[in-house]
């Protein structure tokens, strides 16, 4: 379980997260929606310690993420993250992109890592591109590569930061389908996204962020079809 307790985060004088309380249970899919700058992505970065917090606590399976004694590298093996700009490693083939971390972080042998990589790449539909280099692939394919790369570490949780926002419209579908697939596999996911319809259909709950605060948190279909808070209604009316 991922638990955020009264989390505060500021960039200098700018308060980005104000007292966030959130629990995500194992097997749950939580979508996070809201305007740009509302703090959604920052929250993800705080969960896997890419950003520091100034107040409150974040616990992943009982481990305090921001405690000085915590082994951050070890923690990150349990939390997979996929970014808006896929950040594939351009100097490695698709296969090596996925197999590298299992080898040098988890200590797997080359054969183990390669078969693991192949399995996950096939799962996301890139089985025929194992020796290709990322720069020769479309954005959608590189994003699926990024997902496979994160999955190969066999994490307990997956964080997705607006993974379709940088894609051409016709490529968005293939990535969303991959996320659907993961949901069926039972992966615990926190998905920051602008795709409201996807959020409604695929998630268990949706959190609506507004200016650093969780304005509304409800079961997915309820929040989209029947928003209770005025700001949620305003936001949804603008994007739907």
């Amino acid at each position: 379980m991922i638990k955020l307790q009264s989390v505060d985060k500021s960039f200098g004088d700018l308060r980005v997260l104000k007292g966030i309380d959130l629990r995500v249970e194992k097997g749950e899919v939580l979508s996070v929606i809201g305007a740009s700058g509302s703090g959604k992505s920052t929250m993800l970065y705080c969960i896997n310690a890419l950003e520091k917090i100034q107040g409150g606590k974040i616990l992943v399976d009982g481990i305090d993420v921001h405690c000085a004694d915590t082994n951050v590298n070890k923690l990150r093996r349990e939390i997979g993250m996929v970014f808006q700009q896929w950040n594939s490693f351009p100097h490695l083939s698709v296969m090596d992109n996925v197999a590298l971390a299992p080898q040098i972080v988890l200590g797997k042998s080359k054969d183990e890592a390669y078969s693991l990589a192949e399995k996950h790449l096939k799962h996301v539909g890139l089985g025929d591109k194992l020796q290709t280099y990322p720069t020769r692939m479309s954005g959608g394919q590189q994003q699926r590569l990024a997902i496979a790369r994160a999955l190969a570490m066999e994490p307990s949780y997956m964080l997705f930061d607006e993974v379709t926002s940088a894609l051409d419209p016709e490529l968005v579908g293939e990535v969303l389908d991959t996320l659907r697939l993961l949901r069926e596999d039972g992966m615990t996911m926190i998905v920051v996204t602008h795709e409201i319809n996807f959020a409604r259909d695929v998630s268990d709950r949706i959190a609506f962020f507004h200016q650093g605060v969780i304005e509304e948190l409800a079961p997915a279909k309820d929040l989209v079809n029947n928003p209770q808070r005025e700001r949620t209604q305003q936001f949804l009316s603008k994007v739907l």
Partner: protein, 219 residues
């Protein structure tokens, strides 16, 4: 025109010139190797070091890039000589070129590091890689591709600058040519042949670098 070209002395001296060309190449390669190691260190000092390291590295880089290479050679020759450290001509050239190379390469490396998006670093750390694993496996290989072309240029530069060795008594290609030419008074012919040697050497380096890049960088 009442000058007759006498090529015989030059042709007889070709083996000597060829050996001297090898010495030139050797000096250039050595100074590049040392320059790369020091340059990398200087770049890291400027990017990640504390204040003392930053100042030290910056002073080195700015001195190397803003003063003539010949002056730097003079420093290792005359300057150290004042302390009683008399380096051989080869060492003067090696130190001077290495000092110079390190300065220019440090700037190239620094630019390379700064050009890699922080996101690459983040993505690797998110997979659980440590900072040193990230630098070794992800960042430095990409920097290498970015600086490959400037490094090739610097290698050519090192070969051309080695000719300054002639002024401090080093018998590389220019020095040897000068020596042989002054014995026979066939200055023009000898220097023409030396020029051809240099041209071929530079072209060979560029071709080799190009072929190597094809093999190294498949992306």
């Amino acid at each position: 025109m009442d000058y007759t070209f006498h090529w015989r002395p030059v042709i007889k001296a070709l083996p000597d010139l060829f050996n001297a060309a090898l010495i030139t190449l050797e000096a250039a390669i050595l100074s590049m190797a040392i320059g790369i190691i020091i340059g990398l260190a200087l770049a890291m000092m400027r990017l990640y070091g504390n204040k003392t390291m930053y100042i030290f590295a910056t002073v080195w880089v700015e001195l190397a890039r803003n003063t003539p290479a010949l002056l730097q050679l003079f420093f290792f020759g005359f300057g150290l000589g004042a302390f009683g450290w008399h380096l051989s001509p080869f060492m003067i050239v090696l130190c001077g070129l290495a000092f110079n190379n390190a300065g220019y390469l440090a700037e190239n490396f620094r630019g390379g590091f700064q050009a890699i998006p922080k996101a690459q670093y983040n993505a690797a750390r998110c997979l659980g890689m440590s900072a040193s694993q990230t630098y070794l496996r992800i960042i430095i290989p990409q920097v290498f591709k970015l600086v490959y072309y400037p490094m090739t240029n610097q290698m050519v530069w090192a070969v051309l600058m080695s000719s300054l060795g002639m002024l401090v008594g080093f018998r590389e290609l220019s020095g040897e040519t000068q020596f042989l030419a002054s014995n026979t008074f066939r200055l023009f012919e000898f220097f023409l042949v030396a020029a051809v040697f240099y041209y071929v050497l530079v072209k060979a380096i560029l071709v080799a670098a190009h072929l190597l890049s094809r093999r190294l960088f498949t992306y």
